[in-house]
Amino acid sequence: MNLENYVIFKGTKDGVTVLFQEDASFEVLCEQLEKKVQEAGKFFDNVKTSLAFKGRTFSDEEEQQLLRIITDHTTMEITFLKTENNELVELTALLEKEMAPQNLTKFHKGSLRNGQKIEFDGSVVIIGDINPGAEIKATGNIIILGQLKGMAHAGCQGMIEAFIAAIYMAPVQLRIGDIITRFPDENKRGSKPAEYAFVQEGQIFVMPLS
């Protein structure tokens, strides 16, 4: 076991700085970081701070790995991450990919107008309308408690089991997984029941909900 201090924690007025030795291998750094964090134990618990990595530059994956070591062993709440190239990275964005549970759902109240777009890793529920020209993209399911007149893309990373449901379904286009379908050109007016769209045998079907 190497006793050299490859990882040093420092408190600064801007938050916590973690100093890494330049010549150590990444694995050793991870090991040391884990040990240090465990030793510090409750010291970092429930602390809200920004974090800076100094001493060497890491790739995005390495950064994420280091962050995960910290978040796995403490309840420290990291607001910002400052890296060697002095970029302030909003942490939520950085960790979102790794940390978002599969079944996360985003709720959005209000309509989406022409040109507005919602993209989300998970499912989306919209309480409002999707106007023509608006887009909604989700890796999971999409439920629209309103009129769907724009474009909806469910299962956008390939989840073919995803569905799209809307109170009034008259989209410009529907996409589930990598299947794209366009609605008939003629404008359907008048009332119809709520419908949902799903994929069967490589085609998108639309059925009444009840």
Partner: protein, 265 residues
């Protein structure tokens, strides 16, 4: 030989998109291979006017950013062979594209073997305008016979010339012959006197255009529409043929129309 034509105006709402759609269709009817490019990123309309909105998968920004190949983004028109649309992105803005990228895009379209590339320019003189004119060989300025539109057209012609697009052609859109005859609207001579450019065509105000636009079917194919006829003439002139300007005299009013008019007053 392929040619890139930008349709521009400065002022909004004078009929750039309608003109682009009609000229594109008109050229395609005559067997030309035409690409319509919507440069109005964030406020796209050309796809709606063409009735192709629901076929969009990739757009101009996707091509420029390398998310897809140019061919994948081109939408084949549902009526005319040889007519294709490159739609604008709707959830982005004008800064998503640079003039250099537009230039490259136009080169790419020329290499695809299009006879004509028609670019629908956004209103204004900012980034969107600069993008739209970057790859153009020729410009068509659309204006209406209103003082404000003509003023903006003058500004645009100046900017076009400053960017090396000399001798733009003018389309005078939405002329109301009854108003001109009463001397209450600028006539063709008034406009050409101010702008001092060659006039490519005059399109009369026609409700068939409104109907056609709302249906997503360009009026150029409507044989009864006078505006459609005007667009067909303009297409001929673009192809280098001499076509006399159509008579803008009021057409004889039918008895029924007269009757309707009586009740209106």
């Amino acid at each position: 030989m392929s040619e890139v034509i930008v349709i521009t105006s400065g002022k909004g709402g004078v009929g750039k998109t309608t003109t682009s759609a009609n000229l594109g269709c008109g050229l395609a009817v005559l067997g030309k291979k035409v690409a319509l490019v919507d440069a109005d990123i964030g406020l796209r309309n050309l796809d709606v006017v063409m009735g192709l909105e629901n076929r969009i998968v990739y757009d101009l920004v996707d091509v420029v950013e390398g998310n897809c190949r140019l061919k994948q983004a081109l939408i084949k028109d549902k009526r005319y062979d040889g007519l294709f649309l490159l739609p604008a992105a709707q959830t982005r803005d004008k800064d998503a594209v640079s003039p250099e990228q537009m230039q490259k895009l136009c080169e790419g379209l020329k290499e695809e073997g299009f006879d004509y590339v028609i670019i629908d320019c956004p209103a204004g003189i900012e980034q969107g305008f600069k993008n739209a004119i970057a790859g153009a060989d020729r410009a068509i300025v659309v204006t209406t016979p209103e003082v404000s539109a003509v003023r903006d057209a003058d500004r645009i012609i100046g900017l076009l010339e400053a960017n090396g697009l000399n001798d733009p052609m003018l389309i005078l859109n939405r002329l109301r012959t009854d108003l001109v005859q009463r001397g209450e609207m600028m006539n063709i001579d008034d406009v050409t006197e101010i702008l001092a450019v060659d006039i490519l065509g005059v399109v009369p105000d026609d409700e068939a255009i409104v109907i056609a636009t709302n249906k997503g079917e360009p009026a150029v194919s409507n044989q009864e529409s006078r505006a459609g006829q005007a667009y067909r003439n303009i297409v001929q002139r673009i192809l280098g043929q001499e076509v006399p300007f159509m008579s803008l005299e009021e057409q004889p009013v039918s008895f029924f129309e007269k009757l309707k008019g009586l009740f209106r007053h």
